[in-house]
Symmetry: C2
Subunit: 303 residues, 2 copies
């Protein structure tokens, strides 16, 4: 099953050095999910060929402009491009007030419904549960109400050993039961144990998205054992005081979180405008957690 994330923006606060504010597009089994939507996200989607029409879920972490100012433009473009299917939107309760005010003054009635679910920055909640994935909010510790999101793949059905089934002439109508782990009883009464005809599917994976937040162990349990952990790393650790004041994390802290929570891989982003080159941020994180990469725009990371 496809489970990958494409970075659309990784700048904190202001766009700079061709870095756009935060947005990421997730492809989970060919369903597309957008996380945050900074200004210019729809332009980035055009640039990296991510079709807005395929996105059915949008998650907004918090109401600082660098995480949502591209949303109304994207919603309007979806409308102008003929969307009629519902869009599921998740974010702080007051987000809808902002959207509705802007639609009101532009005298726009969207051709499609927005199904809005307000997030709660105090407690973790399951906000999506479909065939592919469970999505939970992660309460973060920022200056204003802010949640991350954790995407947990569902355990897939067992995989059929097709050659074996052909050899035994197993009728197609038994395949679903086999995928679910049942044994196969042939017409002559012979019992074939399930594990001789199928193999286990891959272990389900998880992607944790943590932006923006102070280093705060409160959410570490929830993100433990992530296959990919995206964590903001706004500053180098020589600016740890500034990070604390502004409720952000340093690259070193992000790496320590990855280590403490047993992440398989760490992706850092939300880079301050003070860093033209990102090399030092990467080196600092890798000094503690070698399997770290930078959230570079246009790059796709398999989870």
């Amino acid at each position: 099953m496809k489970f990958e994330v494409t970075i659309l923006g990784s700048s904190s606060a202001t766009p700079i050095y061709n870095r756009n504010p935060t947005s990421q597009a997730l492809n989970i089994n060919e369903r597309w999910y957008l996380i945050d939507c900074g200004e210019g996200t729809q332009q980035q989607m055009l640039r990296f060929d991510i079709k807005a029409s395929r996105i059915d879920h949008i998650f907004i972490s918090h109401l600082h402009g660098d995480h949502y100012l591209g949303l109304v433009g994207l919603l309007s473009s979806m409308h102008l491009n003929g969307r009629v299917k519902p869009l599921k939107l998740f974010g702080p309760a007051t987000l809808m007030e902002i959207i509705e005010l802007q639609l009101k003054y532009s005298e726009t009635t969207l051709n499609y419904p927005i199904e809005f679910t307000p997030t709660n920055a105090e407690i973790a909640q399951v906000i999506v549960d479909n065939d592919d994935v469970t999505i939970e909010t992660i309460p973060l510790d920022h200056r204003i109400a802010c949640t991350g999101f954790i995407f947990k793949e569902k355990k897939r059905l067992r995989k059929l050993l097709k050659e074996k089934l052909e050899e035994l002439n197993v009728p197609v109508q038994f395949f679903t039961a086999l995928k679910k782990g049942k044994d196969y009883v042939a017409n002559d009464g012979t019992v074939y144990k399930n594990n001789t005809l199928t193999i286990d599917s891959e272990q389900p994976k998880s992607y944790a998205y943590c932006s923006d937040t102070l280093f705060n162990p409160a959410y570490f349990d929830q993100i433990t054992n992530s296959d990919l952990l995206y964590h903001e790393a706004t500053f180098l650790n020589n600016m740890a005081d500034r990070a604390r004041e502004t409720h952000h994390t340093t690259a070193l802290q992000a790496a320590n979180i990855a280590l403490q929570t047993n992440a398989k891989k760490l992706l850092i982003g939300h880079f301050s405008a003070r860093y033209k080159s990102l090399d030092e941020l990467l080196e600092e994180a890798q000094s503690v957690f070698p399997n770290t990469e930078l959230a570079i725009e246009g790059k796709t990371f398999a989870i």
Copy 2:
């Protein structure tokens, strides 16, 4: 005196084919003015090296998203980049409600004051009058309240013929009077006529910005004799019905307006997403008004 406009965006409705929604930066005697501010305008300013810190006036024509969704991001970036000097903002009265709601929910108090002047889409009004320029609103005919803007250079003082003044040893303290047209009386009583010591300054120029609007002669008088007329030309004339329905103008109509109002030069923009190539729009306008150019992003036009 410098009087030029740089195009930052020229797409209507949605960004497409690397065309951003509407925005233009005017340099009038090294004072910078921003007209409209579609999503991504601040990114375009970075791209074309136009410094936000130099902009003291922003004009928003109307509250369709493609004309203002980049504004809150730009205002926030000015704040984060340390701006303290006031910003003069002009636009529909409800624009401030949108800005204030977004600042409220991001818990942001700008470090600089916004001096807001609401525009009136019913009558032309002078909204700026400084040493360089007079700026008036142009009531346009769109689906929602919309104004264009006309920038009229002030007549400059006369220019001193420096060699002549040196030859006659005219003291510096007479220069201001000479610039204002006074004759010079030397110590020996000789009168030197002003026009022997100065020449007239250039004729003041004007730039009219008309977006978005139905073809409607109501505003033609006001824009007559523009040195540069920017006019929206959303569609080709084979879509004149669609233009009328959506309160837009065709390239042919824009050219006819330039002709009727005796513009020296026409700039067309606000191109529909249906046109990947803009050649036909240009050809159509030039068939009626040859001195037409396309508002291509990054291009600067002297007025």
